[in-house]
Symmetry: C2
Subunit: 302 residues, 2 copies
């Protein structure tokens, strides 16, 4: 069996990251640049890629996969979404080749939710799909609820190694909007340290309140009535919003595979635990593991 | 029976309105100034009041009630919230007198929700309480669900003429935040005309989707997939958020008393109708009717 060196690139909205991997999928070297797609003019993607990773591509038989927003309408070239259900095979079959057999953009995933209405609602991800497949590889699981916290959190249902469907939540973005621009911002101490007790209080309230649109107003009245020290308000609001995700998606007794930054996965772990659920956490390593697993048909040839 | 002229003032965050009423509660004259409490420095409230309504107060035996944010910590003088359940008697008993028997600030209402947790959540209103009592007076109802749409919508449960409890929803503010500052703002046409079909679609989706934090992301994918004309997206998002309020609070088969601007009460009427519910709408007249009813023990003496 011969192997080819893998150049794995995650090109997001605000950052560009790359790693050189050996045949076993181990990261030999990694680089990060502040060259997210928002900083790159149309027609300049190839030049930026060459400047950042051109030397790596000089290696004989180098093979490159690029995930993330590079495949969006605003990116290098548009790689149409791969519809769910989708596993490794569907994703590999939908690669958008920049250079046949040598360099490809990984498409994002799309799915539809009818929710009992005639017109379907679409949901999409770009970049998270490679983390999901990496997390499955690393954890050895083929059936899981995979959660990727963030600006637009994703909850994906995986069965037999295939993503059946997923839902996005604007949790991180709504937290930022409320903290920075709403009436709550007048009393929220944005730089206050995280307070686990206030966070869990928010998570628990989210399970029992009629609507998150109403409970978020409680962060305002906490300030009026002094019933929670001001430095705990951001943690309470964070708990309310993450708790709303859990109210909608978490199934008590089931386990969750969390993929993301240590700070965010810790919060979700605490929230899940407060509802009696276990979780396993993975970080950046899931991205590179996903690239390695997806690249195998090309990097590991008979 | 002797009567005294009533000067009714609604002093809000961004505007100052007043009306001179006759003994029957009819508005003889009204004035509006861009002098909300945010424009008035501490210590200057009396001077602003005199400049705007001093001539009206010259009338023999003039009696004045001031509702709204003038009674907040940032207002003229703080009028502590009157706790629910509260009817005319409790509210009248909790008036904050600026001049005994002649001029008073109407307190707001507060209530607590335990939602099964040891620490109660507080909810508050200032100014809406007078609209609620005015709406009850005008409609002749003593048992009702009264809804006041707005930046922070209020849903109040009224029985035997007393407000038992209420909940605030940050619906209007969240719509503004999403329209102006979120990723959705990139594709939302803020000035597009209202589209009833898209609005009702949003209302219906809100009844069936796991979470509003997720469904609001659908406004983004509608743009990506072109499944709804761009000029309909704001109406769809408005329907999603107002629909979330209704999902949490509306009880099919019951009627709702709507108090607010014609534009907003029309939207809620359409949303309620889509869920098989009836409504009755009232506008500004509810504010002055509430003042007249609350003032009766002082303006109509034996």
């Amino acid at each position: 069996m011969s192997t080819r060196p893998l150049i794995a690139v995650d090109w997001g909205t605000s950052s560009l990251r790359g790693a050189r991997l050996d045949a076993a999928g181990q990261v030999l070297e990694s680089r990060q640049f502040p060259r997210g797609i928002m900083t790159v003019a149309k027609g300049q993607f190839e030049a930026v890629f060459d400047a950042c990773f051109g030397d790596w591509m000089q290696a004989p038989e180098a093979f490159c996969l690029i995930s993330g927003m590079a495949g969006s309408q605003q990116g290098w070239q548009e790689a149409p979404y791969c519809p769910c259900p989708a596993g490794f095979e569907e994703l590999a079959g939908a690669l958008h080749w920049l250079q046949a057999g040598r360099m490809a953009i990984v498409p994002g995933l799309s799915c539809q939710h009818h929710d009992g209405l005639p017109v379907p609602q679409h949901d999409v991800m770009r970049g998270e799909e490679i983390q999901i497949f990496g997390a499955l590889t690393l954890s050895g699981q083929r059936d899981a609820t995979v959660v990727l916290p963030g600006t637009h959190s994703k909850w994906a249902q995986v069965a037999a190694g295939r993503v059946l469907s997923f839902r996005s939540f604007m949790t991180g973005e709504v937290f930022a909007l409320l903290s920075q621009h709403s009436i709550l911002s007048r009393t929220l101490q944005a730089d206050a340290p995280w307070h686990e007790g206030a966070f869990v209080h928010g998570v628990q309230l989210a399970q029992r309140t009629p609507s998150v649109l109403s409970s978020m107003f409680a962060t305002r009245t906490l300030a009026l009535f002094g019933s929670l020290p001001p430095e705990q308000h951001p943690s309470f609001l964070s708990g309310l919003l993450i708790g709303e995700e859990l109210r909608a998606m978490a199934r008590p007794g089931s386990a969750v595979l969390l993929v993301g930054s240590a700070q965010l996965t810790q919060r979700y772990t605490v929230a899940l635990h407060a509802l009696g659920m276990d979780s396993q956490c993975l970080g950046d390593e899931a991205t590179w593991a996903g690239h390695a697993a997806l690249a195998q048909p090309w990097t590991h040839t008979a």
